[in-house]
């Protein structure tokens, strides 16, 4: 029993260690991506800083607007990083040509997902903290009233459902060797649009607001804003945990189930071979 658990943990750890080794070896790309992400987040938050000048209104609470946008950009960076790390796990292996070796190994997909998830959360958290510290350094922001514990819980619970969505999206490169990786960008774009990253969901057309309700990112963002901007909160931050928990509990097993079905299909049709 203990030996079995040790074996499963070792398998999950294999993915964590491999991914960190890849980050280490591709460090140049990581630096470029980090610099780009910082510049991108800064450019978004400067919109808040310039709001008074843009609109000509002097009564605008600029610091609130900057914090609002900063939360949006950081949460999105975090969730998008998790989504990318999970959804690209197949595309990455196809690109390197190692997919057959990983799929031939006696590893349950669940163990593979555990390893990928641990890596994705640790990596994304580090990445987001660095961006947050750098961007916040440009402004005079105060989080004295913020409920940081609630914000952390919301972020971690929310990331689980994004892992599930990432697993479902990773099926695309499995089924479509040539176009699958690009297709995952469409999934990501959908969440970017409907989840209220930089604006309240209420400004969206009615039919998009319906879609916003099924996006876990909507609840993560509203929960994070309620925790970090308590003066404007309309609900208890922890009230957003339940929908996220339910979504995570549905999306994770569903993602793994669908992935296993897709894996079977590729083995039936011979699609594992093509390194697209």
């Amino acid at each position: 029993m203990i030996k079995g658990i040790q074996l499963e943990m070792r398998q999950s750890y294999a993915f964590v260690a491999r991914n960190f080794n890849l980050v280490k070896r591709y460090w140049g790309w990581e630096v470029v991506w980090l610099a780009y992400s910082i510049a991108n987040s800064l450019s978004v938050t400067f919109i808040g800083a310039g709001a008074a000048e843009i609109t000509g209104e002097t009564q605008i609470d600029t610091n609130f607007l900057i914090t609002y946008l900063l939360i949006g950009t950081l949460v999105w960076r975090f969730l998008a990083s998790i989504f990318n790390n999970i959804s690209e796990m197949i595309a990455w292996e196809r690109w390197e040509g190692t997919i057959e070796y990983t799929f031939m190994a006696p590893v349950h997909r669940f163990n593979q997902m555990i390893g990928q998830t641990i890596f994705a959360i640790v990596y994304s958290l580090l990445f987001t903290v660095i961006i947050g510290v750098v961007v916040a350094g440009f402004f005079d922001l105060s989080f004295a009233d913020a409920d940081l514990a609630a914000a952390t819980v919301i972020l971690l619970v929310g990331s689980l459902s994004f892992v599930g969505i990432g697993v479902v999206a990773s099926i695309l490169p499995l089924l479509y060797p040539e176009r699958g990786a690009q297709m995952t960008n469409i999934v990501q774009a959908f969440f970017l649009l409907v989840s209220g990253i930089y604006y309240p969901v209420s400004v969206l057309p009615g039919w998009l607001q319906v879609l916003a309700k099924i996006s876990p990112a909507t609840y993560v963002l509203e929960g994070m804003r309620a925790a970090l901007l308590p003066n404007t909160a309309t609900a208890d931050p922890l009230s957003y945990v339940w929908p996220l928990l339910i979504m995570g509990l549905i999306m994770l097993p569903l993602g793994i189930y669908l992935f296993q079905r897709a894996e079977k299909y590729t083995k039936r049709t011979g699609k594992l071979k093509r390194n697209g």
Partner: protein, 316 residues
């Protein structure tokens, strides 16, 4: 050589009436209309296999596709501690067969068992018993041999420390320099990469080792080193080995028995000596290559395979 014919011998691998078909892109209508596609092409007409045999009526190709039979009613057994060779020209279905044995493809018909375990039903248990070396040394190219091997070994439950010790030992025996062990794989020659691929498979001590042209791209000395290692793996680790190769000398030197695969079917199966005996005439001792040509009417690598069509891309 093993006494494979002893009926009490334990079967490590049993392949029974296995068929594998693929849908592959069809020629565009204008080319078919113009009749420019070759009659000898491995692309078969809809509903027909590459070798012209009718497929069951329910198995029609998808729209715009052609149904190609890569492995057609193949049956054989490999006994424990046997080195079993599969010879065939490009596109004969060798790699497809190896992928079927290694759970990377599911058979359309028939059954494959490894030490009594069905590759489809008992997939995870079978995976623990096997490993494979393919002709392409597939690795994370930026990672070092050490990082790649530790990753591969951990997937099979081998600890990092043990994998590191064994990897150094195996690679040392295969002639890999110590300094290369921690350098990126992309800096290594193809032959060196192939040695790391061999070490990756040996590290997990598989009881059934599937070698798909493992020595392609290696220099003669490295080939001999690998061959000696394969023999040693069988002798000291009780491993059973299935090997596909283009190298007739290698097949002759290594294999207890050889199956000759042609258009997805087994054209002959015997010991190297038994195969030679079939075409021995007037005291002339035939080579395995002559046996192959006599039994299939083909050369191992045909001109058309290279200039006109890449069947491995379709059939493998």
């Amino acid at each position: 050589m093993l006494e494979y014919s002893t009926p009490t011998q334990e079967a490590a691998l049993v392949v029974e009436h296995v068929v594998k078909r693929f849908n592959v892109a069809a020629d565009p209508w204008w080319r078919r209309w113009a009749g420019s596609h070759k009659a000898t092409s491995n692309h078969a007409a809809n509903g027909q296999s590459a070798n012209g045999h009718d497929t069951p009526p329910r198995l029609k190709a998808r729209r715009g596709k052609e149904l190609v039979t890569a492995v057609s009613d193949v049956s054989f057994s490999v006994y424990r501690r046997e080195i079993f060779g599969v010879l065939g020209p490009n596109g004969s279905g060798k790699s497809t067969l190896i992928r079927l044995l290694s759970t990377l493809l599911l058979p359309d018909e028939g059954a494959i068992t490894v030490f009594g375990l069905d590759v489809e039903r008992d997939e995870m248990a079978v995976k623990r018993l096997i490993n494979r070396v393919s002709v392409e040394a597939a690795f994370f190219k930026k990672l070092s041999p050490k990082e790649n091997l530790l990753y591969g070994a951990r997937l099979y439950g081998v600890s990092g420390k043990e994998a590191d010790r064994k990897a150094r030992e195996i690679l040392g025996r295969l002639g890999l320099r110590e300094s290369s062990y921690t350098s990126p794989m992309e800096d290594m020659s193809r032959g060196m990469q192939q040695k790391v691929a061999i070490a990756r498979a040996f590290l997990t001590q598989p009881v059934l080792l599937l070698l798909d042209e493992p020595t392609t791209g290696l220099d003669p000395r490295s080939k001999l080193e690998v061959q000696a290692f394969v023999n040693e793996l069988r002798d000291t680790h009780d491993a059973t080995i299935v090997i596909t190769t283009h190298d007739m000398n290698e097949a002759d030197a290594l294999c207890d028995r050889i199956a000759i695969l042609d258009d997805g079917r087994i054209a002959a199966l015997d010991t190297p000596e038994g195969l030679k005996r079939r075409i021995r005439r007037n005291g002339h001792e035939p080579t395995l290559e002559e046996v192959f040509m006599a039994l299939t009417g083909k050369e191992l690598v045909e001109k058309d395979d290279v200039t006109d069509f890449e069947p491995e891309k379709v059939l493998s």
